[in-house]
Structures are given as structure tokens and as C-alpha cells.
């Protein structure tokens, strides 16, 4: 299956009640697949909706409405479309609505190109819209994970009443790989806060991100921060390849991690003790583990399809314990593993000279 299709199929199996989206390359397959498949599952008892909106702005606000009414809802887009959604995402984070947002990252800025990129790392992990907030960000590096993270993403969103973003890229979205779907039981989360119509037995529910009095907004801000701390405590996920004895560690996520995995194998064949560390959650970022690895490793090489974004978080994580270098390709260009090994070899030889 294509990555985008696997993600769409997972959405159906994960009990997604509604998808609202707008076409944009390289993720339109999500909307196309769901437009074809979701109606088959919609019954009078369990209405399931797929709707092509007039814009990404409308899509994300439809997500707001449906999530606020207590439903399992998602949207997907690619970089320029995700930029348009940022206002809505900020409102969703402020109003603490659980939902899933998928960004099949393409290269930018502006219209850029439809080829894969990782230039939206900052946007995804540092807020993106206005105000202080965080998304839970999951970075798949295979078609299997495109599917798996939909289930995980919905569950995390419900658990923390927080928007979750799957930050993929044009390559993972478009590539075809085998994917298996296990048995998944939809976790029904009680949502007593949802606007479903006010029965006499309770007061009215309202969904808002407005707290006009500064002292009240600060309380709300602090509550959000507490939640983010809780997420950082419980939800850090990462993968390590050959790091046990590694002197040189590639740090990469998504498509870059696939390339670095291969680069680590090539480097080992050349007698370099290389390994790879792959953050799976970009927020919460696996800082603690990176800091531990910095005790024994000689050098970290972060590889990204951008001009150096995650590398800042890696540097913060190791806090000067070890040198963190960067290798990036831009504009939708994808490096091959040899390029990255060459970069590492150059760095090692410089290290030996000094």
C-alpha cells in the first residue's frame, strides 16, 4: 500500500468518525481513499463523515466543531495547507480538543515543491500557530508506521485532550510497502465536556479558547504546561540501531532515518562504530536518552531534509557533552546513504587532525 493509503485505511479501522480535508500534493490520496471508503462504513447508528472542504482553513475549523462535539476527527494536508491551518490548530490546542492532524511534509518555503522535505519540524514542534502550546508530534519512517501512528495518535489525543500531529513527508506518503493491520479495539473515551446538546441533568458545555481575564488565562496556560510535562514524562518514543557500542551516532527522523540506518550499516562495514538514533516522538523529544548516549559517543551527526532544525534540539539535549554536527539537503533533494557516510568520514578525519 501507499503510505497515504495505509494512513487512510488505518483511520477507518481506528474508528475515525469524520475526516475533513482539501486536496494538496503529495497527500491527496488520503482524501481520495476516504471519499471512496468511509461511506461504506457509515450507518444510521454510527454516522461517519468524509467532507472535502473549500479550504484548509475550513477543514481545520470543521475538525474543531466535530471534535468539540466529542467525535474522533482528523484532517490531513501538506506544508502550505498546514500553514493555513495554524490558526485553527492554535484554537484547538487552546480549547483542548483531541484530534489528529497529518502533515505530509513537502519542501518549501512558499509553494516550494511537491518533493519530500522536513522543513516543517519547527512549525510542528514549537507551536506553529500563535500562543504557547504544544502538539504531540509523531514521525513515521515507514508505511507501517503511517498506519500504526493513526491508532496511537487518536488514543494519545483522547488521553490528553490534545491535538496530535503525524509529521510525515512526501516520500513516506507516496512510497509503497507491505503493511499489516492488527486487531484494534477502538478505545471509547468519555467526553463529558463535549457539546452534544444540554440535557437538564447538567449545565451547559461550551468549547472556547477565550479567557479574557489575564489571571484566568494564566491559570489555563499553567494547566496546559502541566499537561505537556505529563506528556513528556509518559510518551517519549524513540528507536536505536547499533547504538550499544557506537562512537558515532546519526540522529534522524522519518525519511532521513531510513537513509541514516543504511548509512550506519555502510559505516560499520568500513569499520566505523556507527549507530543511529531515531526520535519517534518529536514532541515530546527524547532529550534524556540522547543525553545518556552523549556520555559514551564521540560525535552526533544529525541529518535532515532542511537547513538544520531538529539539530537544535539535539544540541540542547546533549548540552555540550558531545559535538553535534549537521548534514542537510534542501529543495526536495534526498541524500543517498554514501553522502552521509562521506560527511561522517570527513568529520572523523578532522577530529583526528585536531
Amino acid at each position: 500500500m501507499k503510505g497515504n493509503e495505509a494512513l487512510a485505511e488505518a483511520a477507518i479501522q481506528a474508528g475515525c468518525d469524520a475526516y475533513f480535508g482539501y486536496p494538496i500534493t503529495p497527500q491527496s490520496e488520503v482524501l481520495e481513499y476516504l471519499a471512496r471508503e468511509i461511506p461504506k462504513y457509515s450507518t444510521k447508528e454510527h454516522i461517519r463523515v468524509v467532507l472535502q472542504a473549500e479550504s484548509e482553513i475550513a477543514s481545520i475549523n470543521m475538525v474543531y466543531g466535530a471534535a468539540g462535539a466529542g467525535f474522533r476527527v482528523m484532517t490531513s494536508s501538506s506544508s502550505p495547507g498546514i500553514s493555513l491551518m495554524q490558526e485553527g490548530i492554535s484554537y484547538i490546542a487552546g480549547a483542548e480538543l483531541p484530534c489528529l492532524i497529518v502533515n505530509v511534509n513537502r519542501a518549501g518555503p512558499g509553494l516550494g515543491t511537491i518533493q519530500p522535505g522536513q522543513g516543517d519540524y519547527f512549525q510542528a514542534t514549537k507551536g506553529g500557530g500563535h500562543g504557547d502550546y504544544k502538539l504531540i508530534v509523531l514521525a513515521p519512517s515507514s508505511v507501517q508506521e503511517m498506519a500504526d501512528f493513526v491508532f496511537l495518535g487518536f488514543d494519545l489525543a483522547d488521553k490528553y485532550r490534545n491535538p496530535v500531529m503525524i509529521l510525515s513527508d512526501g516520500a513516506i506518503g507516496q512510497m509503497m510497502e507491505k503493511v499489516t493491520f492488527g486487531k484494534y479495539n477502538v478505545h471509547k473515551t468519555e467526553k463529558p465536556w463535549a457539546t452534544t446538546g444540554k440535557p437538564e441533568s447538567r449545565g451547559r458545555n461550551y468549547i472556547t479558547s477565550l479567557h479574557i481575564q489575564p489571571e484566568k488565562l494564566e491559570v489555563h496556560n499553567l494547566k496546559l504546561i502541566e499537561k505537556y510535562k505529563e506528556i513528556e514524562k509518559n510518551e517519549v518514543r524513540y528507536e536505536e540501531i547499533m547504538t550499544e557500542d557506537a562512537e558515532y551516532i546519526f540522529v534522524a527522523y522519518g525519511l532521513s532515518a531510513r537513509i541514516c540506518h543504511k548509512a550506519a550499516i555502510i559505516a560499520r562495514e568500513k569499520g566505523i562504530k556507527a549507530g543511529m538514533f531515531r526520535p519517534v516522538t518529536l514532541f515530546p523529544f527524547p532529550s534524556k536518552r540522547l543525553n545518556e548516549l552523549a556520555e559514551t559517543a564521540k560525535l552526533f551527526l544529525t541529518a535532515e531534509l532542511n537547513s538544520g532544525q531538529m539539530v537544535e534540539d539535539v544540541r540542547l539535549a546533549v548540552n555540550g557533552k558531545v559535538n553535534v554536527e549537521f548534514y542537510g539537503r534542501l529543495g526536495g533533494m534526498v541524500p543517498n546513504p554514501e553522502e552521509i557516510v562521506n560527511k561522517l568520514e570527513n568529520l572523523i578525519s578532522k577530529e583526528n587532525v585536531s
Partner: protein
């Protein structure tokens, strides 16, 4: 006031309080509430919360809030109603309306309402939006929501200015009308013309009932109430979007007294925005409504 008149008032007051004392001290007081000649002619609808509103004195918003909530109460649909508040003066509508509500981003109320209504098609969903929200930043959402024929009620308050941000020019500002951002009057050669949203959206097949009303005098208030009642009732038919535009007054930003602002509507606003129904349901549709067994309101 003359000394004579004052004495008269004092006397009258005294008489009244004596009468009241007499009543409370006698058995007659027990029966007075049950007496046929005393009946409640007016009270706050229970769907409207008993709190002070933040609106300026004389503003149309508080009155329209009340009318919507009266309609909800009269139709007995409080449990089944979900509202969407805008950004603008009515941003706190959910503080006053005792129904489930969502507060939308500026201009996005109808997209939010679409999200709600598509998943809860049996609920009554309405948005409450001003002219900046609906006709400027949210015009795309407005048109596409109605074009899809979303089965919701849009209540559109047109007071020709941005109220919350203190009286800037709106897309509905009258030609020549002075606002804080058109201090010499709206120059149509620079800013174009006031948008007649009701006429515009009535062209869309997705709109089912479109009307423009006002609340600047008693007769107008009664008509507006009826329009809201009808529009909510039509939602049962699942025939498309109902759109009730209400010409509101904004005394603070129009720099007028409430009474002057009410007159301004009759003298100026209605010339650009004529009152009345713009699009009515067909007789067949209404027959269907009667077949559902529900009485037509009013």
C-alpha cells in the same frame, strides 16, 4: 416639580405601601397570585442565563440573544440545540445562552457548525455572527456552507461596523458612512460598496429561507422573533440553510443615543438593506412541515 406634586407622590407611595402591608398581613395575600386577573405576561426565558450582559446600553445583541433563546424555549429544543459564537461583540454569547455552545475563530463559525451538524444531524445547530465575521473574513466559509446547503441556522447581525474593535469600517458600512477607518465617510471608489449578503446568498440553491429583519421597534422585534422561530423549525425539514439577517444598531460606535440609532436604521440602513423576506420556502416544503405534526410557530 412643585411642592404640591411632591406631596401627592409621597401620599400615593404611602398609600401603596399601606395597601401592600395590609395585603401581606391578611389572608387575601395568599390568593392574590392565583387570581385570574394577575398572570405573568413577560419573563426572561429560562434558556437565557440570569447574568448581566456586557453589551452597551441600547445594543441590539442582547435583544436578539433573548429572541433566539425564547424561540429555543418555545420550541422545547434546549436539549437539542448547539450554538456557535463568533469573534466580535457576541464572542461571549455562550455566557448568556443556556445551551451547549462552541466559540469559533473569526469568520469560521459556519465551518465549525458544519463539523457539528454533519455528525449530529438531528440537533438544531445555529451560528451567531456579525458583519465583519461573516461578510469579510468569513465570506468564503459563509458562501460554501450555504452552497453545501448545510442544514443550520445562520443569524447574521448587520450593524455596518466592527463593534468589538470600536467602530471600524465593515463590508456592510453604508456608502458615505463615517467610521474610525473611514473618517471622511466610506468612499466607494476606494472601498467598494456595502455587501448585501442576504441577496447574494439567496442565489445559492443551498439556501432555503433568507430574510432580513430589524429590532429597532416593537413590530420589527416581533417579526424577527417569528423569523427565528420559523428558521429553527425549518431545520427539521433538512432542506438547506436558513439565514436570518438582522439589522442591528450600534449606538456606541455610531456615536448616537440608542433612540437616535434606532431612527438611523429606518432613515438610512433600510435604504441599502431593505427589510423583508428575500427567499421563502415553497408551499410543498411547508406542507411537509405540517405533515411532521408540528404546529407552525406563531
Amino acid at each position: 416639580m412643585s411642592a404640591e406634586e411632591l406631596t401627592l407622590i409621597e401620599k400615593t407611595d404611602k398609600n401603596i405601601s399601606e395597601e401592600a402591608d395590609a395585603l401581606t398581613n391578611s389572608d387575601a395575600a395568599v390568593n392574590i397570585c392565583d387570581a385570574d386577573e394577575y398572570s405573568v405576561v413577560y419573563e426572561r426565558p429560562h434558556t437565557l442565563l440570569d447574568v448581566n450582559m456586557h453589551y452597551c446600553p441600547g445594543c441590539a445583541h442582547s435583544l436578539v440573544h433573548k429572541l433566539i433563546m425564547e424561540a429555543v424555549e418555545e420550541l422545547g429544543i434546549q436539549e437539542d440545540t448547539i450554538g456557535v459564537a463568533p469573534v466580535g461583540c457576541a464572542v461571549f454569547a455562550y455566557d448568556y445562552m443556556n445551551v451547549d455552545m462552541q466559540e469559533a475563530a473569526h469568520g469560521r463559525a459556519t465551518a465549525v457548525a458544519t463539523g457539528i451538524k454533519r455528525l449530529l444531524p438531528d440537533k438544531y445547530v445555529f451560528t451567531y455572527q456579525g458583519d465583519g465575521d461573516l461578510a469579510a473574513i468569513g465570506i468564503a466559509e459563509t458562501i460554501h456552507t450555504i452552497n453545501r446547503g448545510e442544514n443550520i441556522l445562520i443569524v447574521f447581525i448587520n450593524n455596518a461596523v466592527y463593534g468589538m474593535t470600536s467602530g471600524q469600517m465593515a463590508p456592510t458600512t453604508l456608502a458615505g458612512m463615517k467610521t474610525t477607518t473611514s473618517p471622511f465617510g466610506r468612499d466607494t471608489s476606494v472601498y467598494g460598496y456595502p455587501i448585501k449578503v442576504s441577496e447574494l446568498i439567496s442565489q445559492l440553491p443551498g439556501s432555503f429561507y433568507v430574510t432580513r429583519q430589524a429590532v429597532n421597534k416593537n413590530t420589527a422585534v416581533r417579526k424577527t422573533k417569528k423569523a427565528i422561530l420559523n428558521a429553527l423549525n425549518y431545520q427539521k425539514l433538512n432542506k438547506g440553510t436558513c439565514f436570518v439577517e438582522i439589522i442591528g444598531n450600534c449606538p456606541s460606535n455610531w456615536k448616537m443615543t440608542p433612540l437616535e440609532s434606532n431612527d438611523f436604521i429606518d432613515e438610512h440602513m433600510v435604504k441599502t438593506f431593505p427589510l423583508g423576506d428575500v427567499k421563502l420556502p415553497g408551499a410543498e416544503d411547508l406542507k411537509q412541515l405540517n405533515q411532521t405534526g408540528d404546529k407552525q410557530p406563531c
